[in-house]
Symmetry: C2
């Protein structure tokens, strides 16, 4: 059977261009169109009528691809999802959640069926294989997150630089000089190039250096249990620490309860500041956590907006970076000996 | 335009039988088939080729309908969803999450498109309008939950009777005689006939009566904040209470932190036992909560299994009720004066 790839090769164009002509989704110059049509006719390419109808119909359904089996789905993820669903509904679209893996295998099976008009990608990796798959299949998409190569991609993301600057500045202002970061487990292949871990750590190293602080970075899995273990490691290896930043929200809850169980009072002995957390999660802990509040509601809405503008042929949404914002509560305080070095 | 209904009337058969012939989904006797084909020809009935292809094709996608804008999506819901997604994947299906409202309006729009082979319904109400919609549109479905009328419906659910019996029996065995139940807010139209609230309360009233205990029932919204308010109300109106059962997991977290903030030690002054919670949520609190563990992983798997058996024409899964199971931890203990009445 002759495929779009064969047609593209013969005509000397990309598969995407063939798709534009077939589905009439983007304007193509008359010359290119002629070349493609000639290649189709020479190769005997004939699209199945049903497949064409399926491909061209608009379902007004968009999917949020969230790798729920690898990335725990908690309150923060729910904030992204529900705000995206709400934004879609307001524009007469339906949003569904696809719990497909990050490697793109399942995504390939799903986008081929013409079930959705477009995809919002969550939990983006620096070298995300899902991007290539969506491009090859001509599926409109927007990223909540950033790959290394971003040219021409609609995206919105957390502003990790500003977030970490505000967090470190706040702790420094309280008098803390012995900080540590508990980041994610970059040895785990699923998280090796996971944007939030990589970018938070890079920002922390840069900002700590600017303040002339020693950098301490520990890794933790994304669970309460793993956070408790990281807390024990921190106390064992860096007992001088007076404040700790934690990237993963579940690990942060574990760091808090782990420190408490080891007899360390939060915040009197040590301050705990999660870099990405929802107020709902923060309210669960005792003391209530001071947090950098994840801009989940904003980003869910903007990511969906970016995709829908693409689908409707409207002016693209410019890329946006939104910082997490400081919500002071009960897990941070000045150190026992201010300015202790 | 001639419809399937016209054909059914002319042939003197049900619309379903016309559909079986058109889509070749179930065997129909040769005589009936002939009668239907004749009616089609006399009436000039011609199904659009694309519509037919759409209606008959199998997408191998199933949807879990979860009203995420009304029912908070936390760890417990995530357990249902991820175990369902996993079960689907193992049988070569994809599961997506549809955050559609409980009233059925959006569901109607979605099932008409032939995008999914079937639907798993979550957060079922006693008089759930979604059931009628799925029946009318001929969409295969299974319930995780129970409506009042269940005849012929594939369903699995929590065994609330056994769950409450075990919970009350455990607290009674510790010496508690002054129990209270914090249930959901049945005045809120969204939760008025929400199965877990209605069934937990009914079971509690029955079991408490069997033990000869006074019944105290308070209502709470499903949030940490609402749980904190319910805790304050409990202390104000029923200060003699030594143990409290809470249905909603977010309210339960609020009851725990609310009691603590009001100066009541859990479990020394009062025991707290959530009736439906995931271990993940329980581990977040300090002290770690003793819980009745929601059988989310089991029910997500079984609900999906029930639907897929239907889709594959296999033997139906018999209805199953699974109780939550007691996981003792730090929020329950004997009362200060055992047997205090």
């Amino acid at each position: 059977m002759v495929t779009m790839r064969d047609v593209a090769q013969r005509a000397g164009v990309s598969i995407a261009t063939v798709s534009f002509v077939l589905n009439d989704t983007k304007p193509v110059t008359a010359a290119t169109r002629r070349r493609i049509e000639q290649a189709m006719s020479e190769l005997g390419f004939r699209r199945n009528v049903v497949a064409r109808a399926l491909a061209s119909r608009r379902t007004h359904i968009i999917a949020m691809a969230y790798p729920a089996l690898d990335h725990k789905f908690g309150f923060t993820a729910a904030e992204f999802f529900t705000s995206a669903a709400d934004a879609a509904r307001k524009q007469d679209y339906h949003l569904v959640l696809w719990p497909v893996g990050n490697d793109g295998t399942e995504l390939t099976e799903l986008v081929g069926q013409g079930l959705v008009d477009g995809v919002v990608l969550m939990e983006v990796q620096l070298d995300d294989p899902r991007v290539g798959i969506l491009q090859e299949t001509g599926t409109p998409f927007a990223l909540i997150g950033r790959t290394t190569e971003l040219a021409g991609l609609d995206h919105v993301d957390i502003d990790f630089d500003t977030t970490v600057e505000e967090a470190v500045g706040y702790l420094h202002g309280l008098g803390h000089r012995r900080l540590a970061l508990i980041s994610g487990n970059l040895k785990d292949p699923v998280f090796r190039t996971y944007g939030p871990y990589v970018r938070s750590e890079a920002a922390y190293r840069r900002v700590a250096a600017e303040y002339g602080l020693e950098t301490v970075v520990l890794e933790s899995g994304g669970s309460t249990r793993a956070g408790q273990e990281a807390a024990a490691q921190l106390i064992r290896e860096h007992p001088e620490t007076t404040a700790v930043l934690v990237v993963n929200e579940f690990a942060a809850l574990g760091v808090l309860s782990g420190l408490t169980r080891l007899g360390h009072n939060v915040p009197a002995d040590i301050s705990v500041l999660p870099l990405l957390m929802s107020p709902e999660t923060a309210a669960m802990s005792d003391p209530e956590l001071t947090i950098m509040r994840t801009p989940g509601p904003e980003l869910g809405q903007l990511g969906t907006e970016a995709l829908i503008r693409q689908l409707e042929g409207a002016t693209p949404l410019p890329p946006q970076l939104i910082p997490a914002t400081l919500h002071p509560a009960g897990s941070t305080a000045p150190p026992r000996s201010p300015g202790d070095r």
